[in-house]
């Protein structure tokens, strides 16, 4: 066990030393891995933010039915029954013009506008939620409600949220695809780097074999080297995305201020960031494994 620890510490030191032995090559490698991975990582970060945004919106389709002014309460009750009996309707909620105005007053920036009005310009309304999110059903109901007596205007809400959701799903698939492809390139980059390492370490490998080093002993520094390379690449990618988000946030903040909303991109959560580093380190380990298995036995002492 002690020998095992000692061997691993030695290999770790050797792995780090080899990274520093050719600092320019190491930086170039880390840069390649980092920038290549920053692409899907940044896209993923944007998706997570958009998703959080769309999650805060209602995804059930709603139909707002605005009533013509000057109708009595009895008309309203009759209309409400008609709405409730329509197929595909889940709930029907009545919003009086007074409560709509009160609700509007609570929205930021609207209070002053409303205070300047002499009387309430808002109509009474029904808000209907649908049982299922079928866009066709929403369209059908929209047409049906429009013909009802006393209805001034019908509007289908939330259809665009659904579209956003579908788009997000598309985006996720694209990011996954990109991740897989670039994951392969990460394995390839490590494979090549390790191949070159084996060539430059040729003498050391040969001498080590001659003085009784096991294959495991010779392989270990390469694994540390490769995994560290991957981990550093992952950290670089995170750094690139972090800087990118910082830059975007500066502009987004100004844009948001104009609309009175807090618009800022949130960086990846810590767990995700750590997963990224573990992921890149593992892929590099894999590349090292393939490379070392292929190339190490080509160095045999003569």
């Amino acid at each position: 066990m002690k020998t095992w620890t000692r061997h691993h510490l030695l290999s770790l030191r050797q792995g780090v030393a080899r990274l520093f032995a050719a600092p320019l090559a190491t930086l170039a490698n880390i840069g390649v891995i980092g920038i290549v991975l920053a692409l899907p990582l940044g896209a993923y970060g944007l998706l997570v933010n958009l998703q959080a945004f769309s999650g805060s919106l209602p995804t059930e389709p709603q139909i707002s039915i605005f009533l013509a002014p000057g109708k009595g309460t009895s008309d309203h009750a009759a209309l409400e029954n008609r709405l409730k009996s329509a197929s595909g309707v889940k709930t029907v909620r009545y919003v009086s013009r007074e409560s709509a105005l009160a609700g509007l007053k609570r929205s930021p920036g609207m209070a002053e506008v409303i205070a300047s009005l002499r009387d309430n310009p808002l109509p009474d309304a029904f808000v209907v939620t649908l049982a299922d999110g079928d866009a066709d059903a929403a369209d059908r109901l929209e047409h049906e409600f429009r013909t009802l007596p006393g209805v001034a205007h019908v509007q289908v809400d939330s259809a665009w949220v659904r579209r956003l959701d579908t788009l997000l799903r598309l985006g996720r698939t694209a990011v996954l695809l990109l991740c897989t492809l670039l994951g392969f390139s990460l394995v390839a980059v490590t494979f090549n780097t390790i191949r070159l390492q084996v060539l430059t370490q040729r003498e050391e490998i040969e001498v080590s074999k001659l003085i009784g080093a096991t294959d495991a002993f010779i392989r270990r520094p390469f694994f540390y080297f490769g995994s560290l390379l991957g981990a550093c690449g992952g950290i670089t990618a995170l750094g690139v995305v972090f800087l990118g988000f910082r830059l975007l946030n500066r502009d987004l903040g100004q844009l948001g201020a104009l609309y009175g909303v807090d618009a800022s991109l949130r960086f990846l959560p810590l767990a995700d960031s750590m997963a990224v580093v573990i992921f890149t380190a593992t892929l590099s380990w894999l590349g090292t494994y393939i490379s070392v298995s292929r190339h190490l036995h080509s160095v045999e002492p003569r």
């Binding site: 074999k209 003085i211 009784g212 080093a213 096991t214 294959d215």
Partner: protein, 223 residues
Amino acid sequence: MTTVEPVISFNDVSKRYPGGYEALAGVTFDVAPGEFVWITGHSGAGKSTLLKLVAAIERASGGTVLVNGQNLSALKSRAIPYLRRNLGLIFQDQKLLYDRNVFDNVMLPLAVTGHPYRDAARRARAALDKVGLLERERALPIALSGGEQQRLCIARAIVNRPGILLADEPTASLDAEYAETIMTMFRSFNQVGVTVLIATHDQALIERWRPRVVALARGRLAT
């Protein structure tokens, strides 16, 4: 009729390289523990091949090679490192690592076996002291003279306290005086019980020491 088990035993050993070149044929001999043996013969007689067979760098094409009772032709490649840890190898082309200093070169065999650093450093210095290189432990091998480089190889070979020392032309590029010192070192290791096999074509040295000689001619034992 031997009472002691030989440490090295060749029985009808042959070695043919790809392409048909026959380096050794029908070689049979035993080496007892603690023996000092010369392997002699002209260049191309098969001296290096013979030593490489003992260290499992090459495998015999026929016959059996036993080292410490282990049959090397049946040895799995996984077991080869452990065989080599009991051998001190000194090569014709030295095989020093030129990117690290004298001390680190000698430390390498101990790192391989996972010795604690403190103990390893003590042993490495003892080995360097034996070959008279203690003052030069921080020097890079390239800064050493030919004779010093050869002594560094010897220090690296003995630092693990092997039971068998194999040297391929250790005095080939040295002048007579240096060769003499190196040979004195091998003698002293032999006196503390290490089995020593040295391949050489230097007849003058052999005349002086007159130990046991295994002579090769064109891959066969010459008697």
